[in-house]
């Protein structure tokens, strides 16, 4: 009792430090956005046009695209409506929560594709997290579906009636019907893959039959393709479509890398939490934390690699259809959010995690979990926010309420699923190996000597 109380207090201490960083950052961002709002009082249309000219490209050649007009339809000249503000805050919070579920689904698939032994302790809670994709995340998606006309500029009645060149080129994919049909299909895919994997895993708990392992492998082999397409679809339709003129084949991969990155450090923290609570005490070893930390480190590099690739190709080609997206994100306090992504999302964790022993430093890694949450949320703000607030980062009550509400629902649903089932795969063929126990193969018959 005493030790758990001490754990709680020390945990609180750590988390309050993280919370202080979050609050300080939010305050700085709000202050920054106020200052830059005053600075960039000129109409957005003018600003966007100046950039287009600065690209040294013949304006006439791209007259058909007219990005300035496209961007302006998104943001408007005056204060956005409350519904719009809520929609953007909710979308950001939703994509943040979705990251964990998608990351979890990927890790479960990975476990079966590589027939990994070390992932056994974390597999069950990741299965539960992945199963939140459908129905929990589907139900939570309904507000986005309902507010789509307000959130996505291309879906507004005037844009649908008079589509610009970029939108026409993307018909029939970018029509409201396609948007809802494809979104629905994405959830069906997630439901089938995530629940298929968990059902076989839970069935194996009861009878221990090897057939379930084969079933899970089949789900994983087909699931990895479905996962790649559905995640890309989700990232394009729900996030990239905010600026429908933009092109990037890396976009889905960037969201994927960020999602798995934040999921891995959260997995590390959850593993620690469930071990301390006693659920995973028997299967968790030091090597489990080490391997989790190593994979987190790998994804730190992978995220930087793919995001840099996207940026570098756009920078190098300097085509206005693509550059406008990053130009908008260098305005006002968005510049500083971009710096946070470079230095906070990549350089800081990269340099700190280089020494092998740092991955076993529980205190450091728990703090890193909080930091990764901040960075990933800011990454999503960077993707979503500038469409509505060209002058800089805005964090308001809607952001706090959406994020708090969605996380509360997700955690509640995850927790009740976790508590309803055994905490780790009980009769997986690799359970002894994961526990660090060597079992002689029955065929060699060496147990006698």
């Amino acid at each position: 009792m005493t030790t758990s109380a001490i754990n709680l207090i020390s945990g609180l201490g750590r988390w309050s430090r993280v919370a202080a960083v979050v609050v300080a950052f939010a305050a700085a961002a709000l202050l920054g956005s106020r200052l830059t709002a005053a600075e960039h009082a000129e109409p957005v249309k003018g600003a966007a046009k100046t950039e287009a000219k600065a690209e040294h490209h013949a304006e006439a050649a791209h007259a058909g695209h007219d990005h300035a007009a496209g961007e302006c339809a998104n943001c408007g000249h005056d204060e956005p409506s409350e519904l719009k503000k809520f929609g953007y805050a909710y979308l950001t919070a939703y994509m943040f929560c979705l990251s964990f579920c998608l990351g979890a689904l990927f890790l479960v698939i990975l476990n079966h594709l590589f027939d990994a032994q070390w992932m056994l302790p974390i597999r069950r809670f990741l299965e539960h997290l992945a199963c939140q994709l459908c129905p929990t995340m589907l139900i939570l998606w309904i507000p986005i579906g309902a507010l789509a006309k307000h959130i996505f500029p291309w879906m507004s009645p005037e844009m649908q009636a008079h589509p610009d060149h970029a939108l026409l080129a993307k018909f029939p994919l970018f029509t409201p019907t396609a948007f809802y049909v494809i979104s629905g299909l994405i959830f069906v895919v997630w439901y089938v893959v995530a629940h298929g994997l968990r059902e076989a895993s839970l069935a194996q708990d009861k009878d221990g039959a090897a057939i379930h392992t084969r079933t899970m492998r089949r789900y994983a082999a087909a699931g990895i393709f479905c996962f790649a397409f559905s995640l890309t679809g989700a990232a394009i339709f729900w996030m990239k479509a905010l600026s429908h003129q933009f092109f990037s084949t890396m976009y889905g991969v960037v969201y994927f890398a960020g999602s798995v990155w934040v999921t891995l450090i959260t997995t590390y923290w959850l593993l620690l939490y469930f071990r301390n609570r006693g659920d995973l005490k028997d299967v968790t070893r030091q090597i489990t934390f080490h391997d989790c930390g190593v994979l987190f480190f790998a994804f730190t590099v992978f995220y930087a690699y793919v995001h840099f690739s996207q940026y570098f190709l756009i920078w190098n080609a300097a085509v206005p259809e693509e550059t406008f997206w990053y130009v908008a994100r260098e305005k006002g306090s968005w510049w500083w959010v971009g710096q946070l992504i470079i230095f906070g999302h990549f350089w800081f964790p990269f340099l700190m995690l280089l020494p092998i022993h740092r991955k076993l430093n529980i205190g450091f890694m728990s703090t890193m979990a909080g930091w990764a949450w901040v960075c990933h949320y800011m990454d999503l703000q960077f993707n979503i926010g500038p469409v509505l607030y060209p002058d800089g980062l805005h964090l308001g009550i809607y952001d706090v309420l959406s994020l708090g509400g969605l996380l509360a629902i997700l955690i509640f649903r995850f927790n009740s699923a976790f508590n309803a089932h055994p905490p780790y795969p009980q009769r997986d063929p690799r359970v002894a190996e994961a526990m660090g126990v060597y079992v002689e193969p029955a065929s060699t018959n060496k147990a006698a000597h």
């Binding site: 570098f312 920078w315 190098n316 092998i356």
Partner: protein
Amino acid sequence: MNAYGLMAVFETPADAIHAAEQVRDAGYSKWDVHTPFPVHGMDAAMGLPNSKVGWFTFLGGVTGYTTGMTMIWWMNAYDYKIVIGGKPMFSPFFSFPVSYELTILLASFGSLIGMFLLNRLPRLHHPLLKNRKFCAGATHDKFILVIETADPKFNDQETRKLLVSAGSKHIEMVED
């Protein structure tokens, strides 16, 4: 002929690991285990700290990155300024791919050189290589633990007793 060390042969990886644990706990410092394939958990059983090769890798990487950046800046923006594709004279973006490749190249050189230095390689001769039992076993199906006579704790009787109690069926003194 002076004695190089005491060699103990074990039949299974598990026996070798347990023997290594005992030798580690007895406080020996100049000893090694030779196995035909990597045995998981052996470094922990031998009490080996984390390898220092990582530092060579890191230094190689830092050198590569700074060399790449400085080289591109020197050539394109300082020594012989030339405008290409309307891009700035120097930018960390276009310099990054080349600097990144140099980082990897010099980091791997650093690893290789660090490994050679720390292992005191290259080396033309080792006393163990003259021993037929060692050469046939350590490369095939035996797990061999060798404690050098140069070890401060080495004592012919005591060390032999320790290796026998660890379960070795064959113990012999290797001559240099």
